[in-house]
Symmetry: C2
Subunit: 103 residues, 2 copies
């Protein structure tokens, strides 16, 4: 079962994400990041790839898109805060955006 | 060239949209509506169909998705307000969501 990140897990899983531009949302136990692409085609193409992983893992983002920009917020509603699923999806999003090569 | 809606066009084009649940955004010359689907698959499937029309017409929405919900805002940045493109995309969104049968 998915559980809220422990203090130890939090350090090891979140630090690498902060290094790629993820930040904590003020007032929520959630991660946020803005992704910028060349144009809408690239932004929505990326969202489509992410969507398939989100569906496969049954873990979905909150995201806002306008043209080439996608603002993402990740949290695990079931546990009321961050879980390993958020770190996993965040890494996948970076990877699919070509930032870390793990797509 | 795309132009801001005239008062006459505004009445004829927007009234039918208000009837299907579109509303004016407070403080902006923009339309908004929340679409609710059965689940993420249906929501993102709808977004994908909309995205292809948006790209074809070179007119893109501002939209926020979380799981089965999509909150849409439409406006035409180039003219600083609503144009016929917004009414066209709003009608298409309704149609693709199965509300008016014009998909």
């Amino acid at each position: 079962m998915t559980e809220k990140l422990s203090d130890t897990a939090r350090k090891t899983m979140l630090e690498p994400l902060f290094a790629t531009g993820w930040e904590m949302v003020e007032g929520r136990d959630a991660l946020k990041k803005s992704f910028n692409f060349k144009h809408f085609n690239a932004a929505f193409g990326w969202m489509t790839r992410v969507a398939m992983f989100a569906e496969k893992w049954d873990h979905h983002p909150e995201w806002f898109n306008v043209y080439n920009r996608v603002d993402v917020v990740l949290t695990t509603h079931d546990v009321g805060g961050l879980s390993t699923l958020d770190a996993k999806l965040a890494r996948k999003m970076d990877g699919l955006a070509g930032l870390t090569g793990n797509s």
